[in-house]
Each structure stands twice: as structure tokens, then as C-alpha cells.
Symmetry: D3
Subunit: 157 residues, 6 copies
């Protein structure tokens, strides 16, 4: 059976921490689908098209990594793309508590999908997408927080 | 003095975890008032009428358990209904930190009301009302997360 | 059915935090047995006799509170004394994680015994028996940390 | 070099916990600037003018403490006012996790600004501005939670 | 490159939680080496021979799972057996904090070894080897906490 | 009044994390006394003489930093050396919970001594003295974890 993992998130925008987790997981899987969840009730800072392009550019040379979008339940998307694993990065204890809840409820909903965790590297642990947005909103320089492929034109501000 | 506890919350909707905590607390009290807090600034997923009906149906055979709604401060409602205890379930360490703050501020506001905690059973610990709403919003099957009395017509979606 | 709770611990020595939790729980139960666990593998700072006397003196005027010693499993002691509740105080999130594990394993071992938690008052939250022993060991004055009934002669040092 | 710290926040409203942290930090610094961050996307309960007056009245007799407002990144404001320290109070472990992320990202953005923490006193640890607003919104008496200089006319309700 | 993981621990004794984590990880790896660390400074409750036999019996029908013992640094053992992954189960937030430190220091010592985490199932989360020993020491029945292959003769007591 | 801080610990051995915290605190104080606590009940890995020499060598060019040893209560030592501040580094949320208890009990014992916290840098956060000793005990290379002044001859092993 092919080992397929999804790496779900909003990626608003993708951070250096996300990139590090995905890259380290590549040897474990046959395919990793970076899966951009679309929630119509949520306001995103960056348009979906850009968020998707940035991720595709980051992993342009990684044939095992693809990008898809989905709406609906994460476990339903797993079944649709035949993924048996959900890959997540853990930054903090608060992250862990939150991820644990999600993972356990996912298991109640659909058997056979396992959530697997890697640690965010210590130097990237403070970086979350929401903190990147906060810095960006106030005119700060986010280049140390995101991969170089995240290119933001002035009209995004 | 009659031992009256309130079990406050939004119950949007009531979960299996709530039910388990209330049932295990019944022997300790003369009356447990499941108290639905109404906050006009908040958007609820399910109408108050339904949330109330579901709880009443769950505890239809438990004469010690009643349901009331309230607005305003929880401690003021306690005084109104002569409750000397606030009953809460604890799921996670994050829950605990949050509940501790509320409980201590309640004590600063009104002396003589004690908050009492039971643990959510391990198999129900991942279930919160907000995670139930998330599953429901995306069309997932919530029947493993809520008591069978929570019946949702398609028009709720 | 009589509502009997045990409040288990080493009480080496009893602290102001312990006293506050027990006193606030008295109205909820018909009897609270302060239960000194004896573990032959553990070194205690104060002799069992003293630890017991101190607790008895603290609750001399509380007819519902008694003191017993036990060895073996806490849940076995509960069955022996017909206690259906274990009462515990919660000071910190770390406390909570620890108590949750114990409580859940107790439930796996013996059904029908419920663990009930009260919060330690904020001003007593930093006080643990082990910190009291640390202060005492270095010659500090522990009178602000323990009830006045804890009287320590110089020969204890 | 003059030792200047900023104490950033929304102060909606200032609490007894804030006041205690600032007062205990005064001996360490030559100047402490209580810095009210203005975020146009956020809704505040109390008008900026009041929040500022309250703080100024609290520290009317402390010549080292001044009040300023700022928008934009906190580290940019530090550079503008020549502050080399950010002062923060820590109430809970959740606070700590959050503050740690902010502090580390601030360091990535601007070198040479150090975040320094004092503990909130145990009796004030449960008090946050958001819990004060919650109590106020429901008509509770907040006088035990804020300094006496916080005077709220009925038209604020 | 063969994907080899070690699952290090004392296994004093192996618990149902350990078994569940290992079994769920089997599809991800070509080989999982359950690695019993030997620390001459530590006192174990059960002899190494038994701890090893129990694990071998549990996984008798899993050709991918083997058992080895090691002393010295875990990362050095990884290199010796060509393992590029360390597999760990996460039960609680406290677990997470501890594992995070170990994993990050391992990375400082030896590059190229990744620690991968699975969650302990909620119903097994309260079970640690130390709590099993505690129950056993006091004469409790540990059969609900460990796999059936853990057979303890009375002379172990 | 001279601003004197102590930085208490066992320093068995001093780590890169300790050094970073002390160096960043130097501008805040007139004097920082690295204070090696001596506890006769504790077994240290490295002899006091070495632990002291290492620290003195690290700070040989920092005239504000001195090294002293003490036994007894930390707050009593503060009074003896006229220190009004205790400086501590915070690595994790567990650290924070522990330090909070100590700091609050110190305040109960002696008024007027304030504990001040700096964050350990993210890249040093996983390093504790106990993890250094663990690596050393198993023959690992600790040079990435401690300052270069920590020189260990083979006879320490």
C-alpha cells in the first residue's frame, strides 16, 4: 500500500517551520499532500492562489510533495486522496493539547487514519502563521520567518 | 441547607462529556441546575430552544437535574437560585488553567460559592462543543460525540 | 448511602493549603477521612505519630473529619472504609496532569469511586509539603506555610 | 546608557495585576513607558482617552512612569523611544507560552531588545483585562479587580 | 535506504500504551527495534530477562519488530543499528515537554536522526510504567494495564 | 541603592543557557553573584572546586559578575549579600510552574526580594544541567552544550 500523508493547514502564509517539518518527513512517505483547507467562514490575509503558488514554489524540486485544496472534514479529504496519515508539526505544549484533541476526534470519526508528529526545530518554534500575519500587518519585515518563495507585493498590504 | 449546584455552559450542543460529568455528580447534590448562559454578543449554532430540549430529554429520568437559562454573571445566577456550588468538568490542562481563573475571580466577586471539579472520562476528553460544531459544519457525523437525544434536522445545517 | 470521602496524602507535614481544601469540602460529605498513606520505601521528614497528631489537632472541632493511616492501594482503602469519593486539591496545571493520571488508573482498577477536586486558594497555591520541608531543612521559618497546630521541636531538625 | 523599558498592552482596562508588576519594576529602570498599543482592527470596551487617563492617575506620583500610545510593531516603538527592555508580567503557564513566542519573534526582528518578566502576585494572578471586561459587561462590581483610579461612569455600560 | 526506527525505554514493564504505539507504527517502517536501555545506576522492578521476554512474546507474530538491549547514549545506539528514526508515544503535555528536550539535544549531538511521535490512545493515556509498578507494589491487579504476555510470578513481589 | 542580583543554582555544570541569561542581565544590575547552592544531601557529578572555577573562567572579563557558594535558604543568602533580586532563566512551561512556586514562597518568607526572569534563547532551551550530565555519563560529547571553559579531564568520568 502506498504511504500517503496529508499536511493540512491554512498556510496563511507557509512558514519556515512548516517547510522544515515537511522536508524532514519526506523520506517516510511515498507522497505528501500539502492540503490547504478552505473555510468559507474564515477571513484569510493572503489570497488562496498566492498561498498555493508559494507552497508549490517551495517544493518545486520535491516530486513527492504536491499541493491540493479541500473543504469539508480533514478525514473525509484523507479518504478521497487515499491518505492514511496526517502529518503535523508540534511547536509548544499548547499546540500538543490542541492537536491531541483534533487527532482523537478524527479517530472517533474515521478509523485507520493515523496522525504523526514531528517537532518544529527550536529556532522555528516561535513562528506561527498568525504571528507572521501580525508582523506583516504592522509593516514589519517577515523575511526571517517565511521561506524566500513567499513574495508579497505591496498591494497585499 | 439544600446542596444545589449549577452546571453552567452554552451547550451548543451538549456533549457526551457533559452528560458523564453531570451523571456522576448527581449523588453529591440535592439538585443540579444545568444552566444555559445567554450572551447576546455571541453567535450560537443551534437555537436556544433546541439546546434546552436536548438537555431536558437527556435528563428526563433524573428528577434532581433541571434546566434553566440565565444572562448576567454566573455568581449572580447562583445567588438567585440559592446554589452554593458550581460544577465543572475538566478535560485538559488548558481547561484547568482557564477554569482556575474563572473560579478565583468568582470567589473575589462573591464569597461562599465553591467550584467543584470532576474529570471528564478519558474517552470523552477530546470532545468539546466547539469541536462538535466544527465536525457538524463540515457535514461530519456527530453521533459518536453527543448523546442520542441531540437530534438535528437538516434545516440546522 | 452515606457520603464518605478520603483525602489521601503523606502530610509531611499538613499545609495551610490542605486545611483550606478539607474545610471547604466538609459541607459536601457526611465524613472526610484524612488518610495518611504509609509507604515503607519512602523516607519521611516527620514521624507518623506527629503528622497524625497535627492533623487531629487541626480538625479537633470538626466532628465530620477523622484521621486514619493506610498502606496498600488507595482504592483498596476506599473499599475498606466504604468511601465512594477521593477528595483532592489542585494547585497547578502540573498537579492536574498528575492527578488526572492517578484518578483514571484508579477508575480502571475499581469502578464506583469518583475523584473530586477543589482548587487550592490562590494565596496557598505555591505551598506544597515538599517546599515546606525544603524551607525547614535550611532553617527557615515555616509558620506562614502550615497551620498553627504544626508544632516542631528542635529535635526534629 | 539610560535604562528604558516599555510595558506594552491594551489596558482595557488596567488591572491591579498590571499596577503591581509596574511598581515592582520601577527600581530596575530609569524610565518605564506604559505603552498603549492601538490596533485599528480591534474593538475596545473603554475609549483610549479613559484608558490613558486611568493609567496616568495611577502613576501620578511616580515620576519614572509615563504613558504613551503607539501603533505598529512593538519593537519599532521600542527603537523610537530608545527602550532596550520590554517588561511583562507572567500570570499562568499559558501566559508564559504565549509571551515566549512573542519575545522570541521580537528578537528575530530586532536585536538588542530584551524581554524581562516579573510574576504577577498570586492574589492578582486570576485577573486579566478580559475577565474584568466580562464581569463589567454582566453588571458585576469590578472594584476588587482594578486600581481605584479606574472610574467608570454609567454611560460606559 | 531501509527505514529503521528504535523505540527506546526501560519497559519496566511494557504497557498496553507502548504496544498500541508500536503496532500503529509498524506500517511506516521496515524495522522497529524495541530498545531496552540499561542504566547501571537505576533500580528496576523486573529483571531484564523478563522485560525482554515479555516484549518478544507480545510481538512474536510481528516479523518487523525485534528487541535489543543497549547502554550508552540513545543516539549512539541508533548509529550502531543504522536506525534513522526514534519512535516515541506522547501521553500528556508534560510528556511532550520532556520528549521535546530529549529530541532536541539528540539532534545537537547527532545529525540525521529524527524523532517521530504518535499519540497514545486516550484510554491508555493514563498508563505509565511507573504507575503500573506502583499498583503492583501495593498488591493491585495490573492485568488491565499491561498486555496479557506480561506474566508475573509471585516471587517477583 | 546598589542593584545586586543573585543567580542561584547547582551549576553541575554551568551550561550555555546559563551563560546567555547572565550575560543579557549584566546591563540591568550593578553586580550579579552567581551563587552555587551547597546541599549536603545531594550528590553532585562534578566537584565544587571545578564548578566554581568553570564559572569564574567564563566571566573572567566581566567585573560585575562574581561567584559565591552558600548553604541554607536562598533568601537568607540574599540578605547576607544585600541582594534585592533573584535572577532566573525560563526554558519551558514546566520550568515556569516550578519557578513560580519557589518565587512565591520566597516572598512569603522574606519581603523585598524580587525574582526576575529572562528567557533562555530558543537554541539553548533544551539544555539543562541534568541533560548535560546524562550525556556525559554515557560518554557523549558535551562541547555543544556547555561553554568552552568547562574542561573535563578523563578522571571525572
Amino acid at each position: 500500500m502506498k504511504k500517503i500523508a496529508i499536511f493540512p493547514g491554512s498556510f496563511d502564509p507557509i512558514t519556515k517551520g512548516h517547510v522544515s517539518v515537511i522536508k524532514r518527513a519526506i523520506p517516510l512517505f511515498d507522497e505528501i499532500i500539502v492540503s490547504i483547507g478552505i473555510n468559507s467562514a474564515k477571513n484569510y490575509m493572503f489570497p488562496l492562489e498566492k498561498r498555493r503558488d508559494w507552497i508549490e514554489n517551495v517544493f518545486a524540486n520535491e516530486p513527492k510533495v504536491t499541493v491540493q485544496t479541500y473543504s469539508g472534514l480533514t478525514v473525509d479529504f484523507c479518504k478521497k486522496v487515499n491518505a492514511n496519515y496526517i502529518l503535523r508539526g508540534l511547536r509548544t505544549a499548547a499546540d500538543f493539547e490542541f492537536e491531541k484533541e483534533i487527532a482523537h476526534v478524527n479517530k472517533m470519526l474515521t478509523d485507520g487514519i493515523e496522525t504523526m508528529f514531528l517537532l518544529t526545530e527550536p529556532e522555528f518554534a516561535p513562528i506561527s502563521s498568525s504571528i507572521v500575519r501580525e508582523v506583516f500587518r504592522y509593516g514589519g519585515d517577515i523575511s526571517s520567518l517565511v521561506p524566500p518563495q513567499v513574495k508579497i507585493n505591496s498591494e497585499n498590504k
